[in-house]
């Protein structure tokens, strides 16, 4: 039985924004943090992370700067820009609304209709 859930399309951006909002991270760090928070429940293809990161930088939601990783390697660190923070708030709210709605629909019993 596969315990890991497939990502819904479009959710990767939200996950990255959330992960980075907790503190600046390099690409591999983003991956680790998502795994750590979700306790390994979410599967992210490693290579797929970077196009998303580049895209978010281009959209001005993330800022990038070179630094040194905990393994003592040169790495690019990402942090949220003000626009990114705003976007995270909106998307998170939207996501919560969707989950609530989906949840109540799926929990419906015959007599409630």
């Amino acid at each position: 039985v596969n315990e890991q859930a497939q990502l819904l399309p479009g959710t990767l951006d939200l996950l990255i924004l959330k992960a980075v909002s907790l503190g600046p991270l390099h690409g591999y760090g983003v991956l680790l943090r998502i795994q750590q928070i979700s306790q390994g429940a979410l599967l992210i293809e490693q290579g797929a992370l970077y196009p998303a990161l580049f895209r978010l930088v281009r959209q001005g939601l993330l800022k990038a700067a070179w630094g040194t990783s905990e393994n003592n390697r040169r790495a690019k660190f990402y942090e949220l820009s003000p626009a990114g923070r705003r976007r995270l708030r909106e998307e998170a709210a939207g996501w919560n609304r969707l989950v609530t709605a989906m949840g109540s629909v799926l929990a419906a019993e015959p007599e409630e209709v």
């Binding site: 293809e45 490693q46 290579g47 196009p51 580049f54 281009r58 990783s69 393994n71 690019k76």
Partner: protein, 911 residues
């Protein structure tokens, strides 16, 4: 916002591509190494850890590509990639590339050539300061029958206009002229212009050397000064500074050179360039007793001015209208009849934009150039259709390649973009080569429309408009022949294509592709039929003109224009000197007959006057105008114009004997209907106050002949003895034509004729031509259209037939196995032939029906350029259909024969 951010990353992406590329690489590698570090920490050996980290990361290059796309480097990079790949593909199939590029180079080159002529003749502004401010001043005679604004003015009008006008800050006048540089013997003409002192200044032309004319050079009796054009200075003086101060002999008068105008200025007239400019006032020395400065009905000047910015053409016209009475009233020819003088006063001044200069060439060739533009446009269309078919066929052979690339993850849009880039590449290569063809072709066309009398000069250096046009048609063509094949070839079913080479021959697909090929071929046939009909019309019309009975025999007549003005013969002694020359020429070996006349047929310059006759209800006014030619007795014999009744002019008709005339049939019909004109008399109205009409008796009747052009309907003409030519202030004949009928080629006799005349007088200047040349030169427009349309018609036919051949061959190839089965089942080969030829017939029929329909509309556009044909000339239309069908049957039969000979064994085994 999104666009801005795209731009923000796109621009550095353009400039720091290498750096971005490098950072991207480093970041992805650092990820893998970080991961490997973690794996190593969990106890995996380093090498294995790195291997695993790489595997977990996935396809490295593809991720990089995705990152590039996210950053926005992709657009430029894919373009570069596509171009590089496109070049590689084109290099791999040199045959296809050569054919495609050459086809397009011809098509685009022809279009660019014609367009560059249209640009230079019709669109381009003069290379002077602020050309859009220049206005031409024209005159209009309100009462006249064909009231059209015309451009000639007399010197008195120019003076009046210059003094009275207040709408232009500065005005100028000029007149084209021709100066003979040689002093006796064969002429050497240069193009001259007479210019007012304000001419160069108003146009904003600067001197390259010395000075140009100024207001001081504008007074009567001005010294004989000359300004050279830059080109003539280079040619004649090799650009030497010593040219300033040198003396030029113009029509045997010394002129001192004072300056050279800037390079790139060729004068106001598009289609010719001036060599030498002299002041308007100096024209007087070229004239005798009464100069063109004093003659109030010598319409030789053109006038114009530069308007103040912000003044509209309507304001200019309104002001000119107000000024008209004063200008015209002050310049009335005093010796005209009172009624004519009254009409003169009511004439008007108007204006027209002169930014693009003035040009007879423009009036003559605007319509032909437009027709040619349409013709070459159609040829390009047919050529692109051929390329489209070719691309379709190629697409079939590239199915596998496309399928592989699709399987590897290329999107359809990306593939279409790639294929279109290839087309664009071919098209641009064709355009570059076409520019060279165009340069050469346009120069050739200019040479084609140049005649001996009128050497056409056009500045053909391509400007931005021409370059833009070429680029635009290159892109347009690429889209035209690229889009359909690109869309079609990328619609591949992967499994079918991968399974095997010919597996894509599923019945309906091959059927649809064949039918789109059919559409292409049918439209090619339609287009080429239109071109064939048009060229048929032009050819037929030219043949009619060339074979027309002109009323004289044009072959083997040498024409010599002998000008005695420069020679030191007193006017009274001129007739006997010319008689002497005529007699001597008659005894030259090789000469059949000789005559002289005041003018030769089918040339510029007309002499017409109204006549009066004493019959009931005679024609009056302009309707009674007849042409005049003064001749010696040998004229009709030399021209081979038959005398129908009465007698020829004779040596016994002298200056003092009764005035006589020979008239043509049109004259007789108009003035003496149903009567014998011989013995009747008429009066020539001289139109001058105090001058009585000259009474003249008709002694002979000749066959109708053309006067001014081959295309004219013949008008009444009168011929008089040269001895009875009016003399006085207003008529002075200085040059006469010798007509020499020769036994062989006229040009052979030039040296001996030149010697013979020099024996009588060395100072007489001579200009040689032949009657055939005169007639041919007058048909240059018709010949241009007939030649070029026939050439392009043939080209179009060839292209369409290649298209037809290709389509049928392709169809036969596709249906090979079907034919094989049919033959194996016992179908007679002829039935296979019939099957294929049915396709040919369908395409032909569709094409011809559409083509005839379009042609019937198109002929209306060229109707004005035709001679002696109805628009729906059955010979041209049926001829075009016949030629097209005949060639199409051959083009279709060749591949059809192959279908008939399909060996069932081989065809079936192949499947």
């Amino acid at each position: 916002m999104k666009f801005l951010s795209t731009l923000r990353s796109f621009i550095p992406a353009l400039f720091h591509r290498a750096q971005i590329e490098h950072e991207m690489e480093e970041e992805l590698r650092s990820h893998i190494l970080n991961r490997a570090d973690d794996l190593e920490r969990s106890g995996i050996p380093r090498a294995e850890a790195e291997r695993r980290a790489r595997i977990e990361f996935g396809a490295f290059e593809r991720r990089k590509e995705e990152c590039r796309e996210s950053v926005g480097v992709r657009l430029i990079e894919t373009l570069v990639q596509d171009l590089r790949f496109g070049l590689r593909v084109l290099r791999k199939s040199p045959g296809f590339t050569t054919v495609a590029v050459l086809t397009l180079a011809l098509g685009i080159g022809a279009n660019t050539a014609i367009f560059s002529l249209i640009d230079t003749v019709m669109l381009r502004f003069l290379p002077v300061q602020k050309p859009h401010e220049l206005m031409d001043v024209l005159r209009l005679s309100p009462g006249s029958r064909n009231a059209k604004p015309t451009s000639g003015f007399t010197y008195a009008l120019w003076e009046g206009f210059r003094e009275n006008q207040d709408i232009f800050p500065s005005v100028y006048a000029w007149s084209p002229g021709r100066f003979n540089l040689s002093q006796g013997g064969a002429v050497r003409y240069v193009n001259g212009i007479f210019t007012s002192g304000s001419y160069f200044n108003t146009l904003g032309v600067r001197p390259a050397m010395g000075r140009l004319f100024g207001p001081a050079d504008d007074q009567r009796g001005c010294p004989s000064l000359a300004v050279l054009s830059y080109g003539f200075w280079q040619e004649h003086f090799a650009g030497a500074p010593s040219a300033i101060g040198a003396t030029l002999s113009l029509n045997n008068h010394p002129f001192q050179v004072i300056g050279v105008s800037s390079s790139g200025f060729y004068g106001m007239e598009v289609g010719s360039k001036f060599d030498v400019a002299v002041p308007v006032c100096s024209a007087a020395i070229f004239d005798s007793k009464k100069s063109r400065l004093d003659t109030r009905d010598w319409w030789w000047l053109r006038m114009g001015g530069r308007v103040k910015p912000g003044i509209s053409p309507e304001q200019v016209d309104a002001r000119l209208k107000v000024l008209s009475p004063a200008v015209w009233g002050g310049a009335v020819p005093q010796d005209w009849e009172p009624q004519w003088q009254q009409n003169f006063r009511t004439r008007l001044l108007l204006s027209a934009p002169a930014a693009a200069g003035v040009s007879e060439l423009r009036e003559q060739f605007s319509r032909p150039l437009m027709v040619l533009m349409a013709i070459v446009g159609l040829v390009l269309l047919i050529a692109s259709a051929n390329l489209a078919s070719l691309m379709l066929a190629r697409a079939a052979s590239r199915t596998k390649e496309i399928a592989v690339r699709k399987a590897l993850g290329a999107s359809r849009g990306r593939l279409v973009r790639q294929l279109l880039t290839e087309c664009l590449l071919v098209s641009l290569l064709g355009a570059v080569l076409g520019m060279f063809f165009a340069r050469w072709g346009a120069a050739l066309l200019v040479r084609f429309i140049s005649t001996r009398q009128n050497a056409v000069f056009l500045d053909l250096a391509p400007d931005l408009r021409v370059l833009g046009f070429t680029a635009a048609i290159a892109v347009f063509t690429a889209i035209l022949f690229g889009v359909l094949p690109a869309l079609r070839s990328t619609r591949v079913s992967l499994t079918a294509a991968m399974k095997g080479g010919q597996a894509e021959s599923s019945e309906d697909r091959s059927h649809t592709r064949f039918s789109s090929g059919k559409w292409i071929v049918a439209s090619q046939i339609a287009c080429s039929l239109v071109l064939l009909v048009i060229s048929g019309l032009f050819l037929h019309s030219l043949i009619k003109l060339v074979t027309l009975d002109l009323g004289f025999d044009r072959s083997n007549v040498l024409l010599v224009n002998a000008n005695a003005f420069a020679a030191s013969i007193p006017p009274a002694a001129r007739p006997s000197a010319f008689d002497e020359m005529e007699n001597r020429l008659r005894s030259l070996p090789g000469v059949v007959s000789v005559s002289r006349s005041s003018r030769v047929p089918v040339s510029l310059g007309e002499w017409s006057q109204p006549v009066e006759v004493d019959t009931p209800n005679p024609p009056k006014g302009e309707d009674a105008t007849v042409y005049l030619t003064f001749i010696t007795p040998g004229y009709f014999q030399t021209m081979r114009t038959p005398l129908l009744a009465g007698r020829n002019v004779a040596a016994t008709d002298t200056e003092t004997s009764p005035k006589v005339a020979v008239v043509n049939e049109s004259f007789a019909r108009k003035f003496f209907p149903n009567m014998d004109p011989v013995g009747k008399s008429f009066r020539r109205v001289e139109g001058r106050a105090g001058v009585l009409p000259t009474a003249i008796q008709i002694v002979g009747l000749v066959k109708d002949s053309k006067y001014e052009s081959v295309r004219e309907t013949i008008a009444p003409q009168t011929f008089y003895p040269l001895t009875q030519i009016p003399t006085g202030d207003n008529y002075e004949i200085r040059s006469e034509f010798f007509e020499v009928r020769t036994g062989s080629l006229p040009s052979v006799l030039v040296p001996s004729v030149q010697n013979t005349i020099a024996q009588v007088n060395k100072g007489i200047t001579l200009e040689f031509s032949s009657l055939t040349e005169h007639v041919d030169d007058s048909l240059v427009q018709e010949r241009l259209l007939a030649t070029l349309s026939a050439f392009f018609g043939a080209l179009a036919l060839l292209l369409a037939m290649i298209g037809l051949y290709g389509a049928i061959s392709y169809g036969v190839g596709q249906r090979r196995s079907e034919f094989g089965v049919r033959l194996a089942m016992g179908a007679p080969p002829l039935s296979i032939l019939r099957l294929v030829m049915r396709d040919v017939a369908v395409m032909m029929l569709g094409g011809v029906v559409a083509g005839v329909a379009i042609s019937l509309g198109a002929v209306r556009l060229v109707h004005k350029l035709l001679f002696g044909l109805t628009s729906y000339d059955p010979i041209a239309i049926l001829g075009a259909i016949f030629v097209l069908s005949a060639v199409a049957v051959v083009a279709g039969y060749l591949p059809a024969r192959r279908a008939m000979r399909v060996d069932p064994m081989i065809a079936l085994r192949y499947e």
